[in-house]
Amino acid sequence: MKWLNRQRALLDFALSSLRRRLGKTLGLALVYTLVVAVLASVMLFAHALRREAALVLAGTPEVLVQRLVAGRHDLIPADHLDAIRGVRGVKSAEGRLWGYLFDPAAAANYTLMVPTDRTIEPGSAVVGSGVADARGVAPGDLMSFRAHDGKLVQFRIQGVVSKESALVTADLFLVSEGDYRRLFGIPEGRFTDIVVTVRNPREVRTVAEKIDAALPDTRIILRDEILRTYESVFDWREGIVLLLLSAAILAFGIFAWEKASGLSAEERREIGILKAVGWETSDVIRLKAFEGMVVSLGAFLGGYLLAYLHVFHWGAALFEPVLKGWAVLYPDFHLTPFVDELQVATLFFFTVFPYTLANVVPIWRAATVDPDQVMR
């Protein structure tokens, strides 16, 4: 009880001390908040992207089979489907048709694809929101492209894919199988690649190895590997940005040290008086520590909130380009807010810990003034 009372009394006094020096306190708090906000923004953004990628990939098939010729991706024959379906553990195998279509009018690449979940009328197309925006088209409009033999192929826009899935659908151009083969000159019996679903998730690797053994001219890509790669890339990018920001953290540390060391004459006098009237060194250290804690807490919460708003409400305007990658067609999408405990803890280590350490020596120096100082 006594201990609690003591902490409360010291905390009260710490708050009143901060209030008495509001100008200096606010100045420091502002810088601190900004540092936290910037770091938190990076972390929140990267994490949200990671989660989006994971969510998007979660629905995709576990195994992708591509044919390689001289180390390059080539079309895969339909009879490979039978070989794959023959492997035990395979639930289903489908051939996919997709490719890239360059549109000179927009100077952009579209992903041309034959969808598996719906049928498109021959002569029609469903486009992604990015395509619609880039060419300024709406359902009912016409778009023409040159086929592989130079002849013009026309498409009537049937619909636009909803903006909500823009992250993965912005540049899509969905057509019927016939139109696809016509446009690119790909004969029947050939697919771009084959996707495979596996019955038991634990056996994905074994199944993949069997397919690999059965079809030596292919390469097998596992969904988990894609996921891992994405995670690594995002981690790596996030890490690089944070490292670059480490200069900011260092500067902040120095700033905090300076502020803490630069005790005004009034502050020095106050501490001298406290020591003279019966406060021990550890009491003064505790007082200053509380002051630091209050500022840290305020800055941390404020900074995090600011970062949250920045990333999830204002679209992370400040560093979208670095973390997302470079493209002509920017999908305009909103990230799902997600707060992660690991992240908060990491952020804490990046900001509060260096701040606290930077303050220790100045606080100590101030607190160890001799009690009889006021009398000299």
């Binding site: 996030e238 890490g239 944070l242 690991l342 803890a345 804490f348 280590f349 810990f353 350490l357 606080i363």
Partner: protein, 336 residues
């Protein structure tokens, strides 16, 4: 190396901690050689003033190390998705041979640092700083452990490569397998594990009560706490975790921290670790009570710490029991 933010943060924190403690070592030597409380000379006064700085720095370092331990495990768990075959923290730690040593060293730092803080708190209650030489001698012993922990952790992180295939916990913790850690522990028969646990908890609780009555017996509680800690960990790995997962061959001690198991791992580990630390601390306080200036404060501290230790161990016992009872898994035929 992986450029993950949590890794960078952990390296930063450990690095700073190691730096701080290394900087305190020359001071510790000076205290051991020149400390003389009876002298009022300015040198002595300066030494006394310096102790405040060192202790404050160390308190921060130790709090950070405790938090870093949690972050380390948490992060290892998160990173599991980056490694083929790793399902949880165990897989991540096995990627590199430095993984588990890093964890063990961090655990050692946690306990040693906690004990040092108890030593410091007790020392401050004596009017002649009775334990000052012991304290700074202990610091000289703690410093290399902390530096080693930092270096091993760094070696571990530097050795991480995202695509290395590693074993996941089911390979490590099932009955067969050829790995070093915990294998024999996982194979411990359930009945034996639980009875040993119950026994060691009973001894610890008994010792705690004894200390409340006769604080001089603190050393008994310290020993009992250490024993209970190891038994507790063994029981968690061999039996309690099995009840939580409801899978007879899943023995991983880290998966119980995950969200899908309601984070019960924390409810087990926090009381266990706290109780052990308090028990060890109580032993230290009781030992220190022999000094005349601590004749009153020493036993009092020993009692308070014993009280917390009792609470912790009791909580651990109750929670373990509850986890076993509520589980749908039945391991013993006789249990209804």
């Amino acid at each position: 190396m992986l450029f993950q933010p949590a890794i960078i943060a952990l390296l930063l924190a450990s690095g700073l901690a190691a730096l701080m403690i290394a900087a305190s070592v020359p001071f510790a030597c000076r205290v051991l050689l020149r400390w003389n409380l009876a002298s009022g000379s300015e040198d002595q006064l300066r030494l006394e003033r310096r102790t405040y700085l060192v202790v404050t720095l160390l308190k921060i370092v130790m709090a950070a190390e405790a938090a870093a331990l949690v972050l380390f495990v948490f992060n290892a768990d998160r990173m599991a998705s980056l490694f083929t075959g790793a399902m949880c923290a165990v897989g991540t730690l096995k990627v590199d041979s430095w993984g588990f040593p890093a964890l063990y060293l961090k655990l050692a730092v946690f306990f040693l640092a906690g004990m040092w803080l108890v030593l410091d708190a007790v020392d401050n209650k004596g009017w002649d700083y009775p334990l000052i030489r012991v304290k700074y001698g202990a610091l000289l012993a703690l410093a290399p452990v902390l530096v080693a922990a930092t270096l091993v952790q760094a070696a571990y992180f530097l050795g991480l490569r995202a695509d290395v295939i590693t074993s996941c916990c089911s390979t490590l913790f099932s009955g067969g397998g050829v790995t070093v850690t915990s294998n024999s522990v996982a194979a411990l028969p359930h009945g034996l594990a639980l009875s040993l646990l119950a026994g060691s908890l009973a001894v610890a609780l008994g010792a705690g009560v004894l200390v409340l009555w006769r604080p001089r017996l603190g050393w008994l509680l310290a020993l009992a706490s250490a024993a209970a800690f190891f038994m507790g960990m063994a029981a968690i790995i061999s039996t309690i975790s099995v009840y939580v997962y409801e899978l007879p061959h899943h023995h991983c001690p880290f998966c119980i921290l995950k969200r899908e198991y309601g984070h019960v791992g924390y409810a087990l580990y926090v009381p266990l670790f706290t109780a052990t630390l308090c028990g060890l601390g109580s032993g230290i306080a009781a030992w220190a009570a022999r000094r005349p200036s601590l004749a009153e404060a020493g036993p009092k501290t020993a009692r308070i710490l014993a009280g917390w230790s009792l609470l912790g161990f009791a909580l651990f016992g109750v929670i373990s029991l509850w986890l076993i009872v509520r589980s749908s898994l039945i391991l013993f035929e006789a249990v209804p």
